[in-house]
C-alpha cells in the first residue's frame, strides 16, 4: 500500500509503535497529519491548532489544546508544567490515550488502560497541577460546556457545578461535619465517581489504517 512504501523513519516508528501501541500505518497517517498541521515543521505550537476549523466551534477547545502541551500526558513520571511546542513523539503519545483497548487484554491490563484515560481527563480538569480539582476549576469546566448559552450560562454553571461537587463529596466522603471543608476532587474520588462511566469503552476514536486525511482538511 502507498502508506507503507513511504515510511522514512522506520526505526523511529518502531520505537514509537512500542511506546504507544499504534500500528505502522496509523503512525504514518498521523505523521502526515502532524506535518500538515505544523506546515512541515518539526514541532507543533499552540497557534497551529487554530488552523483546524472543527476545533473553532468546540466549547472546550482551549482545554483540548492545552492537553497536548501538558507534560503530565507525556507518560513521563512526575513531569509537570506545560511546554510551548511538541514534537511528533509527544503528539503521538497524547493521541494514544484515545486508542481503543485491544480485545485480547485481560482485566488487569484493561484496568491500567482505564486509569490512563481517567488520568488524562483528570489532568484536563486540574489546570493548576495541584492534584485536586477544586470547585473553581470544576466551575470553569461547566462554564465552558455551557459557554454557548451566553450570559445565562455563567450563573447556571455555578449552580450545576456546585450540585456536582456536592454529589462528589457525598459519594466520596459520606458524611461531613458542618465545619469540615472538602478540598477538591482527588484522583481516587474521580475514579470512584466515574466508576460506572465505562471510560475505557467510551473514550476512544477510530484511528484509520487507510489514508483518508486527504479527504478532509
Amino acid at each position: 500500500m502507498g502508506a507503507l512504501n513511504s515510511l522514512p523513519d522506520e526505526p523511529q516508528y518502531v520505537g514509537l509503535a512500542e511506546k504507544t501501541g499504534f500500528s505502522f500505518e496509523q503512525i504514518g497517517i498521523l505523521h502526515k497529519r502532524f506535518k500538515q498541521l505544523s506546515n512541515n515543521g518539526e514541532t507543533l505550537r499552540r497557534e497551529d491548532f487554530n488552523t483546524i476549523p472543527d476545533l473553532l466551534c468546540n466549547p472546550i477547545r482551549s482545554e483540548i489544546i492545552e492537553a497536548f502541551f501538558d507534560r503530565r500526558n507525556f507518560r513521563q513520571t512526575d513531569a509537570v508544567g506545560t511546554v510551548h511546542e511538541i514534537g511528533f513523539g509527544e503528539f503521538l503519545l497524547v493521541m494514544s490515550h484515545f486508542r481503543p483497548p485491544s480485545i485480547r487484554l485481560d482485566d488487569e491490563q484493561k484496568e491500567v488502560i482505564r486509569m490512563e484515560k481517567l488520568r488524562f481527563l483528570f489532568n484536563m480538569h486540574d489546570t493548576d497541577n495541584d492534584g485536586t480539582i477544586t470547585l473553581e476549576e470544576y466551575r470553569h469546566v461547566v462554564e465552558e460546556l455551557l459557554s454557548r448559552s451566553g450570559a445565562l450560562g455563567k450563573e447556571t454553571a455555578k449552580g450545576i457545578a456546585d450540585a456536582a461537587m456536592l454529589e462528589v463529596a457525598s459519594i466520596s466522603m459520606g458524611h461531613m461535619e458542618p465545619d469540615e471543608f472538602y478540598e477538591g476532587i482527588t484522583f481516587e474520588h474521580f475514579n470512584k465517581l466515574l466508576k460506572e462511566f465505562e471510560v475505557e469503552s467510551r473514550m476512544n476514536i477510530r484511528f484509520m489504517n487507510m489514508d483518508t486525511t486527504t479527504l478532509c482538511k
Binding site: I64, A169, P178, Y182, E196, R202, F207, L215, C216
Partner: protein
C-alpha cells in the same frame, strides 16, 4: 400448571373468580345461538304477560362484554403469577401465559365450542402497535445510534441469510424425504423460511425484560428485532406473490431490492413526518394539558396505519415517530402528561403482550394442524443452526469495524436471544389458502413454542452461568452527564485534530443543526434555547425534590453534606450578616419553628379542565405526624446551617425556583414544605401565594398555567433570602409551603 399447585385446603378467591370467568367466556361464546327471551313480541297483544321486571338481553352487549372478559382474564392471570413467587422466577411470564391460553383453548374445545383464533387484523392493528410504540418511545437512543451499524447488519443481512438458508435447506430436505413433502416447491420453502426467520420483538421484550442484561446486548437483540420488519415484509410479499406464479425472474429480484429500500426508508419517513407533526402540535398545548397524551398516541397510531396503507414497514414507522417526537414533546408537555403518557403506554403494551400470548395458546388448540415429524424437527434444528452460524459469521465481519468488539459471550447471547413469536404465527395465518398452510402453521407454532419455552426458560440461568454483564441500575448523576458532554466535545475535537470526519463529528453537526433550527420550531417558549445540561440538571433537581417529599426523610439527598462543606471560606469577602449570639439564634429558631405550623391555605375551585391541584394532595393524607416531625427537624438543621454561613448573595442566584404550596385544608401541617420560604411580613393568608421573585438575569417563565408559574429550586443559595428575611422580620415572618404546578417533564 401454576394455578393447580395451590394448596388444596383453601380455594383461593382468585382461582374461583378465574374459573368463573372461564366458564363465563365459554358460555358467552356458546350462547350466541340461543334464542332470546320472548320480550320482543309486539304482534301478540292478546297474550299479556306481567310487566317484565328482569330481562336478559345478552346480544346487545355481547362484543364489548366478551372483549372485556378476555382482557380481564388475561390480567387476572398476570396477577396470579406474581402471587406465586417461585414459579415466576423460574419460568418467564410469556410461557405461563401460553400455558394458560392452552388450557383455556382446551376448555373451550372440550365444551364443544369453536375457540377464537389469533385473527391477523386483531393482531396487527390492535395488539401489536401498543407494544411497538412503547418500545419505540422509550428506546434508549444513545446506545441505539452508537450501535446502529451493527444492528442493521444483523437485521438485514442476518435475516436474509436465515431466510434463504432455511428455505434452501428445507427444500433440499423435502426433496430428499419425498412422500408427502415432495410437493413442496422451492418458492414455498423460501416463503416459509422468510416467515420463520425473523426475530420477534414481542418475545424478545418479554424475555429480556426479566433478565436485565447489559444495555449493549439488549439494544443489539431488540434493535435487530425491530429493524428486521422491513426485510420480513419485503420477503414475505415477494415470495407470496411469486409462490402463486411459480417463477422469479432477475428483474423481480432487482425490484425486490428496490422495494426493500422503499419499504424501510418510506416507513421511516412517514414516521418522522408524523413525529414532527406531533412535536409541533405539542408546542401549542399549554392551555389544554389534559389532552396532551392523546396527541402522542394518535399521531403514532396514524403513523403506523398510514405506513400499513402503502405496505411500508409499520413497525419502523412507529419507531421513527416515537423517537422523533420524544425530545420535543417532553420539553413541551407538563409533568403530569408525561407521567400519563408513560403509564398508558406501559399499560397498553402490557395488556397487549398478555393477550397475545394467551391467544397464541388458544389458537394452538383451535387451529387445524398437520404434523410431520421431519418437517417440524428439521425446522426447529435449522432455526437454531442458521441463527448461530449467521451471528458468528456476521460478528466476524462486524468486529473489524467496531471499536468495542463483541466477545464470544456477547455472540452467544445474541444468537440465543433470537426468539420467534407471534408475528411469525400471524404471518403464517395470513397466508392465502396454500396447500401446505396447515403444515407450515404447525411448524411455526412448534418453533415459537420451542424458542419461548426452551430458550426463554434457560436464558436466565445461562446468563448467570456465563456471568454476562448485567444492567447497571444506577441513575444518571449530574457528574456523569457533565462528563458525557465533556467527552463528546473532547472526542469531536480530537477527531478534528486527527483530521478525519468520524462518528462524533457527524453527531456534533446533527446536534448543532437540531439546536439552531429544529428546536426553535418545535419547542414552545423559552425552553427551546435551553442547553441539554441545564434541562438535565433541572430534571434532576425536580426528581430529588419530589423524592424528598415522598420519602419524608432527608437521607436520600446528599444533604449530609451541604453547601458550606464545599464553599471555600472566604473571609476577605466580609460578612454581610453580623455574628449573632447563641441566644438570638435560639430565639430566631423558635420563631421560625412556630411559624412553620401556620400554613397558608387557599381554597381552589376544582375544575376538570384545570390541572391546578396539588400533586401532593394524596400524600397529605398519608403524612404521619412522625414524618412531619422529621421534616421539621431537618428544616431546623438547615436553618441553623444557613444562619451561620456568610451569605454570598451575589454569587449564585438560582436559575429558577420552585414553589411548593400546600393545598390541603388542614391548618397544622406543613405537608410538603421542604424548605420554607419567607415572604414579606405583610402578606395575608388570603393572598395568592404564587408571588415569585426572579433574579434579573433569569428568563421569565412565560409558560403559565392559569397564573401559576413553575420554576425549579436551586440548591443552597436559595437560602440567601432566608437569611435576609430572618434578619429583617423578627416579627411574624410567614412561611410558605411550596407548590408545584405543572412542572416540566421529569
Amino acid at each position: 400448571m401454576a394455578l393447580s399447585c395451590q394448596p388444596l385446603g383453601s380455594f383461593p378467591p382468585r382461582l374461583s373468580v378465574c374459573v368463573l370467568l372461564i366458564v363465563f367466556v365459554a358460555a358467552a361464546s356458546a350462547s350466541h345461538d340461543a334464542p332470546q327471551d320472548g320480550t320482543h313480541d309486539p304482534t301478540n297483544v292478546t297474550h299479556k304477560k306481567g310487566f317484565p321486571v328482569l330481562l336478559f338481553n345478552y346480544d346487545h352487549v355481547r362484543t364489548p362484554f366478551e372483549i372485556s372478559l378476555w382482557i380481564l382474564l388475561a390480567l387476572l392471570m398476570k396477577l396470579g403469577f406474581h402471587v406465586i413467587p417461585r414459579v415466576s422466577q423460574v419460568v418467564p411470564e410469556s410461557c405461563l401465559l401460553i400455558v394458560v391460553g392452552l388450557l383455556v383453548g382446551g376448555f373451550i374445545k372440550a365444551i364443544g365450542e369453536k375457540a377464537p383464533a389469533l385473527d391477523d387484523t386483531l393482531f396487527f392493528l390492535y395488539l401489536l402497535p401498543p407494544i411497538i410504540l412503547d418500545a419505540g418511545y422509550f428506546l434508549p437512543v444513545r446506545p441505539f445510534t452508537e450501535n446502529v451499524g451493527t444492528i442493521l447488519v444483523f437485521a438485514v443481512v442476518g435475516t436474509l441469510w436465515n431466510a434463504f438458508f432455511m428455505g434452501g435447506v428445507m427444500y433440499g430436505v423435502c426433496q430428499l424425504e419425498g412422500g408427502q413433502l415432495a410437493s413442496v416447491d422451492l418458492l414455498s420453502c423460501l416463503l416459509f423460511g422468510s416467515i420463520v426467520s425473523a426475530v420477534d420483538p414481542v418475545a424478545v421484550l418479554a424475555v429480556f425484560e426479566e433478565i436485565h442484561i447489559n444495555e449493549l446486548l439488549h439494544i443489539l437483540v431488540f434493535g435487530e428485532s425491530l429493524l428486521n420488519d422491513a426485510v420480513t415484509v419485503v420477503l414475505y410479499h415477494l415470495f407470496k406473490e411469486f409462490s402463486a406464479v411459480g417463477t422469479v425472474t432477475v428483474l423481480d429480484g432487482v425490484l425486490a431490492v428496490v422495494c426493500f429500500f422503499v419499504v424501510s426508508l418510506g416507513g421511516l419517513l412517514v414516521g418522522a413526518i408524523y413525529g414532527v407533526l406531533g412535536a409541533f402540535t405539542s408546542r401549542f398545548t399549554s392551555h389544554t394539558r389534559v389532552i396532551e397524551p392523546l396527541f402522542v398516541f394518535l399521531y403514532s397510531y396514524m403513523a403506523y396505519l398510514s405506513a400499513e396503507v402503502f405496505h411500508l414497514s409499520g413497525i419502523m414507522s412507529l419507531i421513527a415517530c416515537g423517537v422523533t417526537m420524544r425530545p420535543y414533546v417532553e420539553a413541551n408537555v407538563s409533568h403530569k402528561s408525561y407521567t400519563t403518557i408513560k403509564y398508558f403506554l406501559k399499560m397498553w403494551s402490557s395488556v397487549s403482550e398478555t393477550l397475545i400470548f394467551i391467544f397464541l395458546g388458544v389458537s394452538t388448540v383451535a387451529g387445524p394442524h398437520a404434523w410431520n415429524w421431519t418437517f417440524v424437527v428439521v425446522t426447529v434444528v435449522l432455526c437454531l443452526v442458521s441463527r448461530v452460524m449467521g451471528v458468528i459469521g456476521l460478528t466476524y465481519v462486524i468486529n473489524k469495524f467496531r471499536i468495542v468488539k463483541l466477545t464470544k459471550k456477547d455472540q452467544f447471547i445474541v444468537a440465543y436471544g433470537g426468539l420467534r413469536g407471534a408475528i411469525a404465527y400471524s404471518l403464517g395465518f395470513l397466508l392465502p389458502d396454500h396447500p401446505m398452510k396447515t403444515l407450515f402453521l404447525t411448524a411455526i407454532i412448534t418453533v415459537v413454542f420451542f424458542t419461548v419455552f426452551v430458550q426463554g426458560m434457560t436464558i436466565r440461568p445461562l446468563v448467570e452461568l456465563l456471568a454476562v454483564k448485567k444492567k447497571m441500575e444506577t441513575r444518571r448523576s449530574i457528574n456523569e452527564e457533565i462528563h458525557t458532554q465533556f467527552l463528546d466535545h473532547l472526542l469531536t475535537g480530537i477527531e478534528g485534530v486527527c483530521g478525519h470526519y468520524g462518528h462524533h463529528h457527524w453527531k456534533d453537526k446533527l446536534n448543532r443543526f437540531n439546536k439552531t433550527y429544529v428546536k426553535r420550531w418545535l419547542i414552545a417558549g423559552e425552553r427551546s434555547m435551553e442547553p441539554q445540561l441545564i434541562s438535565f440538571y433541572n430534571k434532576m433537581e425536580m426528581r430529588q425534590a419530589m423524592m424528598m417529599v415522598e420519602s419524608g426523610s432527608s437521607a436520600k439527598l446528599p444533604g449530609l453534606i451541604s453547601m458550606q462543606n464545599i464553599q471555600p471560606k472566604v473571609e476577605s469577602r466580609g460578612r454581610t450578616i453580623p455574628k449573632i449570639s447563641k441566644g438570638r439564634e435560639e430565639e430566631i429558631r423558635r420563631i421560625l419553628r412556630s411559624n412553620l405550623q401556620q400554613t397558608k391555605q387557599r381554597l381552589r375551585s376544582y375544575s376538570r379542565h384545570d390541572l391546578f391541584a396539588d400533586p401532593f394532595e394524596d400524600m397529605n393524607e398519608n403524612l404521619s405526624e412522625m414524618r412531619f416531625r422529621k421534616q421539621r427537624v431537618e428544616m431546623e438543621r438547615r436553618m441553623s446551617h444557613y444562619l451561620t454561613v456568610p451569605a454570598n448573595r451575589q454569587e449564585t442566584p438560582p436559575v429558577r425556583r420552585v414553589r411548593f404550596e400546600s393545598d390541603d385544608q388542614e391548618s397544622s401541617r406543613e405537608s410538603s414544605g421542604v424548605r420554607a420560604r419567607n415572604v414579606g411580613p405583610n402578606s395575608s393568608p388570603a393572598d395568592a401565594i404564587s408571588v415569585l421573585e426572579e433574579s434579573p438575569p433569569l428568563r421569565p417563565n412565560r409558560r403559565s398555567d392559569g397564573g401559576a408559574r413553575r420554576s425549579a429550586e436551586h440548591g443552597a443559595p436559595a437560602t440567601d433570602d432566608d437569611d435576609d428575611d430572618a434578619e429583617e422580620e423578627k416579627g411574624e415572618p410567614q412561611t410558605q409551603a411550596r407548590r408545584v404546578s405543572d412542572p416540566g417533564p421529569n
